[in-house]
Amino acid sequence: MNYNWDWGVLFREPFGGWLISGFGWTIAVSLAAWTLAFTLGSVIGIMRTTDSKLLRGIGTCYVEVFRNIPLLVQMFLWYFVFPELLPDDAGMWVKREMPMPAFTTAAVCLGLYTASRVAEQVRAGIEAIGQGQRNAGLAIGLTPAQVYRYVLLPVSYRIIVPPLTSEFLTIFKNSSVALTIGVLETTAQARQIEEYTFQGFEAFTAATLIYILVTSIVMLLMRLIEGKVRIPGMISLGAK
């Protein structure tokens, strides 16, 4: 290999600042998307376990559509195709007036995509409890909503902490796809530094370390939550 190493480039202005700003956008896109994914994913997941055929159908459709289209394609569709389907004025608003169009589109797209995966985890958690507890809840006179609120959800969310950790980690890594629509997050900034200085190996090494740092912190955090909420004797104990 015939490469001219220069680690100093990472600490030179403006390149060091670019990496820090990229780190900030990675966190912003990921957390915004996760908020949407967790909320919507919970709703869709619960819908898929109800007795209503309609709700189950809607939930299944949502999961299959959003889970089966590559994220890269979804990003393109939301950014370039979606505004064209709207009436002219609304489309122009999305393209020009909407605050931070690229960021908003990326967060919504990543959130909707991850929601389909969270929904499946939530459904799996609820189904893992079995029909017995649901029937028992109904038998002592709880309404279906109360059965979810007091019997099924408190247990199922605790069971699915480990798989949710994976989804939460994945969202940080998937946020790099946002660079394809012009969000200058960590990977995009590494590319920018490469194009300005041609020190690509250093820039991407720095980006790698940033991702490892972020995911390590997330993992620690989720470990703590897992320990706090675990029910002694339940399966999530195994991860400890």
Partner: protein, 293 residues
């Protein structure tokens, strides 16, 4: 006595020259090409008409034709007429890294020769000259960069054009909104769908994009050159023997007029109807670079 010594010396020199398998004067690239029995040629997939995938699925274009001449010279130099050519697709993001880590032996695309890049790679003589210009919709009232005050321009991430627009805007205090796109097709899409008022890129690429768009008569390329972008074939750094081989080949082509013929084949009007007669600057560049033997 003297003549005997010189005869022996000459014989020894001939013997060494005849049996030498490695280039003692330092050509690691020719050595590895000979050892592998193949040369790795980096090419682009949509740099029309420099280096792009043709209807037959093979890379073709102006840069590819020039590279083939260089490869012919390599074949003659190492005495392997049936040298295998491995085609390696590269992008604007991967080309420098793949050259620096030794994956490709030459890159045939549309790469600007600049001095910062020379820290990692070397270049053969300039074979095309372009610069940053602005494409916009006709009737938008945009001709120069100054007309973009308060408007939105799409820029391709990590190109020389991005740097040029930002530099000129900062120098002249022009307030331009920018949106970043990942490649030329998406930059064009941003302009076509009205997400951006203009798209800035190398003027030759803009003409190429217009010639391929749905309504070519709707768009225009205007303004002065905002940057100077000479294209060159990229070769690995620190191998002057190998680089010289390419320089000799291109100088010969430029002197004999073959280079101009290749230019006309691809640009005037060219298979994609790009219709760009050779500029006086490039003609002059060919003359200056056609160094004598």
């Amino acid at each position: 006595m003297l003549s005997r010594i010189s005869l022996i010396t000459m014989g020894a020199v001939l013997l060494v020259a005849g049996t030498a398998t490695s280039y003692a004067d330092g050509s690691p690239v020719l050595d590895r090409i000979k050892e592998r029995g193949s040369i790795n040629m980096g090419h682009r997939e949509s740099s029309v008409p420099f280096s792009y995938i043709g209807d037959d699925g093979k890379p073709q274009g102006y840069s590819i034709d020039l590279c083939m001449k260089v490869i012919d010279a390599v074949k003659a130099e190492i005495g392997m007429p049936d040298l295998k050519i491995n085609l390696v697709p590269v992008t604007s993001q991967t080309r420098i890294a793949l050259m620096a880590n030794g994956t490709i032996d030459l890159e045939c695309g549309s790469t600007t020769h600049n001095l910062t890049r020379r820290k990692q790679v070397d270049y053969l003589p300039t074979t095309f000259i372009t610069g940053t210009k602005i494409a916009s919709k006709k009737g938008s009232g945009i001709t120069e960069i100054e007309d973009l005050e308060g408007k939105t321009v799409a820029l391709s991430l990590g190109t020389t054009n991005e740097k040029a627009i930002k530099r000129v805007a900062a120098q002249n205090g022009i307030n331009i909104k920018t949106i970043m796109v990942k490649d030329h097709p998406q930059g064009w899409l941003a302009l076509e769908t009205g997400r951006a008022d203009a798209y800035a890129s190398d003027h030759v690429l803009l003409y190429g994009l217009i010639s391929k768009s749905k309504n070519p008569e709707e768009f225009q390329v205007t303004g002065r050159f905002l940057s100077y972008d000479p294209y060159g074939i990229m070769v690995p750094k620190d191998d002057s023997t190998y680089r010289r081989l390419g320089e000799v080949t291109l100088a010969d082509l430029m002197r004999s007029g073959e280079a101009e013929a290749l230019y006309n084949k691809w640009f005037n009007p060219g298979p994609t109807q790009i219709n760009m007669p050779m500029s006086d600057t490039l003609k002059m560049a060919f003359e200056i670079q056609a160094l004598p033997h």
